[in-house]
C-alpha cells in the first residue's frame, strides 16, 4: 500500500461518514413526512427520492456536473457569493453521494415509521409528552432497527459509489479520488496487484460491516423491531 492508497482509504471513509450523518439528518424528517402523508405530492417526492435506484449513475453525474459546475445554477450562485463551484471537489462529491444514497436512508426509515406503535404515542400525548419528547423517548427506541439499516446501507452504498464521482469529481488525489476510482485508475495503468489489494480490502470490509449489522440486528432486536408494542 502506498501513501496514495492510504489517502484514498481515508478519503473514502470520510466521504462515507459525512454522507451518512447528513443523510440521517435529512432522511429522518423526510421519511416521517412520507410515512404519514398519502397525497399526490408525497407520491411525487417518493418517486424523486427513488430515482437514483434506477437511473444510470452517469445520468445523475451528468446533471450534477451541469448544476454544480461553474456555469450551472448552483455553481454560478456559489461563485457569485465569492465561493468555489462544486465540480471536482470533495464538497461536490459529498452532495452527489447524499443524493445518490438518499433512497437507501429514506426507505428503511419510512418502513419503521409506518410500524410505530401509535397507541403508545397517543398514550404519551395524554400523559403530557410533547412531540419532541415522544420522538426521543418512544420513536427513536422503536425505530432503532430502521436507523441502523438506514445508516449501514447509506455508508456501504457510498463506499460503492463510482459513476457519479467519476462524472462529477474526476480523480483528484485527496479531493475526489476515492477507493473505487483509484481501483479503476490502477487497473487502467495495468497495476493489477495494487488494484487487487484494494479491491479485496473493500470486499472484505463491506462484507464485514453488513454481516456485523445484520447479525447484531437479529440478535438484539429480533422480530421486535417491527412488532407493534
Amino acid at each position: 500500500m502506498t501513501a496514495l492508497d492510504w489517502q484514498a482509504v481515508s478519503l473514502t471513509l470520510k466521504l462515507g461518514l459525512y454522507s451518512t450523518l447528513i443523510l440521517l439528518l435529512l432522511a429522518t424528517p423526510l421519511a416521517w413526512w412520507l410515512a404519514r402523508r398519502h397525497s399526490w405530492l408525497s407520491s411525487v417526492i417518493q418517486a424523486v427520492v427513488a430515482l437514483p435506484l434506477v437511473l444510470p449513475p452517469t445520468v445523475l453525474g451528468f446533471y450534477l456536473l451541469m448544476w454544480l459546475g461553474p456555469s450551472g445554477f448552483v455553481g454560478a450562485t456559489l461563485e457569485s457569493l465569492g465561493l468555489d463551484h462544486l465540480a471536482f471537489s470533495f464538497e461536490g462529491i459529498l452532495v452527489a453521494s447524499v443524493i445518490y444514497s438518499l433512497p437507501f436512508a429514506v426507505q428503511p426509515l419510512v418502513e419503521s415509521f409506518r410500524q410505530l406503535p401509535q397507541g403508545q404515542l397517543e398514550a404519551a400525548a395524554t400523559l403530557g409528552a410533547g412531540w419532541w419528547r415522544r420522538f426521543w423517548t418512544l420513536v427513536i427506541p422503536a425505530s432503532q432497527g430502521g436507523f441502523l439499516v438506514a445508516a449501514t446501507l447509506s455508508f456501504a452504498h457510498t463506499l460503492g459509489e463510482f459513476g457519479v464521482i467519476l462524472m462529477l469529481g474526476g480523480s483528484i488525489p485527496g479531493e475526489t479520488q476515492v477507493l473505487s476510482i483509484l481501483i479503476y485508475d490502477h487497473t487502467e495503468a495495468m497495476n493489477y496487484d495494487a488494484a487487487g489489494n484494494l479491491a479485496l480490502g473493500l470486499l472484505v470490509f463491506s462484507f464485514t460491516v453488513l454481516l456485523a449489522v445484520y447479525s447484531l440486528q437479529k440478535r438484539t432486536l429480533g422480530g421486535a423491531t417491527y412488532a407493534k408494542g
Binding site: 406503535p117 397507541g119 403508545q120 397517543e122 398514550a123 404519551a124 400525548a125 395524554t126 400523559l127 403530557g128 409528552a129 410533547g130 423517548t137 418512544l138 427506541p141 422503536a142 421486535a224 408494542g229
Partner: protein
Amino acid sequence: MLKVDVSLQRAGFQLQVKHAFSGTGVTAVFGPSGSGKSTLLRVIAGLETQVSGSVQWHTTDWLQGRKQLRAEHRKVAMVFQQPHLFSKKSVMENILYGMPKRGEGVFIHPDEVIKVLGISPLLQRYPSALSGGQQQRVALARALLSQPRLLLLDEPMTGLDYAAKQQILADLKKVQQRFQLPMIFVSHQLDEVVQLADDVVVINQGQVESAGPLQQQVPQLAGHSDGPLSVLELEPVEQVPQQGLQCWRIDGQSLWLPQALEETSAKQRLLVWARDVSLALQPLTASSLSNQLAANVVAVEAARHAAEVIVTLSLGDQQLRALITRASCQRLALAPGVKVMAAFKAAAVH
C-alpha cells in the same frame, strides 16, 4: 364542568354530541358498540384531528371551531382498551413517564399509587412479562401519576377475565375515593356502569339519547340491555361475615350477599334483573331463596312480551322491579298498595 358540542364525520358514521359533563364524580358513557362512545372520549382527550365544534373545560377552550389545544396540554390522562404500555421501558419508568419533572402540582404521589394498586412487585419488570390485568393496572397508575385533572377510561376492562375485571373495578373505586378525581368512562357493560357511575350518558348512533343521574337513567339502561332491572343502594352493616356472606341494609331490612373481592366500607350498588325477582304474599320459608324484602307495589305495567308484566315495588325511597307473568299477577291480585315479599338470589349480585 366540561361542555362538549362537537361534530365529527367519518365514512358511514357521524358523531354529533352536545352535553355538559358535571366534571365531578364518575360519569359513564354507555351505549352499544359502534355508537361513538370511544370517539367521543378521544375528542375530549384531543386525539381526534378531524373534529369541529367546541370543547370547554371550566373557562379554558380545548376546541374552538377547528382550533385544538393539543392533547399534551390538556392534563387529561386516558386509559385505553389496550394498556399501550411503553414496551421498551420498565414498569417503574412507565408509571413515572408523565410525572411533572420539577415536582410542581403533584397531588398524587408514586408511593401512594403503588400501594393503592398493589403493583410494587411489578416495578422492575417489563410490560411483556405482565398479565393483561397487571398491564391495565400499570396503565392506570401511569395515568394517575401524570397528575390529570380528568381521567378518561375507554373500556379498560375489555378482554380481561372475570377476576381481573373485578380487581380493576375495585381499583377504580378506591382511586375515586382516595384521589377524588373526576372520571369519564366508556362502557357497554351494565355491571361496570352500575358499580362505578354517578351519572350516565347514553349514546346511540353518534348522538346523546339521554343523560342524568344513574337512578334516573335505569329505564334507558334497561332499554339497551337484557330487559328491565333495578339498581339498589345498600348501606354497610358492622357485622362479621358468616359463611362467606356479608350483611347489608336496605330500607331497614337485611340482605346477605357473597363477600366482595375487596372489603369496602362504602355504599354498594346492587344490580338486580327484574326477571330474577319473584314475588309472594307470604314470606317464603322452605326455599333456597334466602334474601327476601318486604315491599309495597307501586305500579303494574305491561312488559315487552304480552304474557308478562313489570311490577314496580317501593323499598323506602328506592324502587325494585320484578318481571312476572300476567297470570301470576292476577292470581296474587297485585295492584298498587298491596304488600308483598320480594325474593331474589344472592348469587345474582354483580
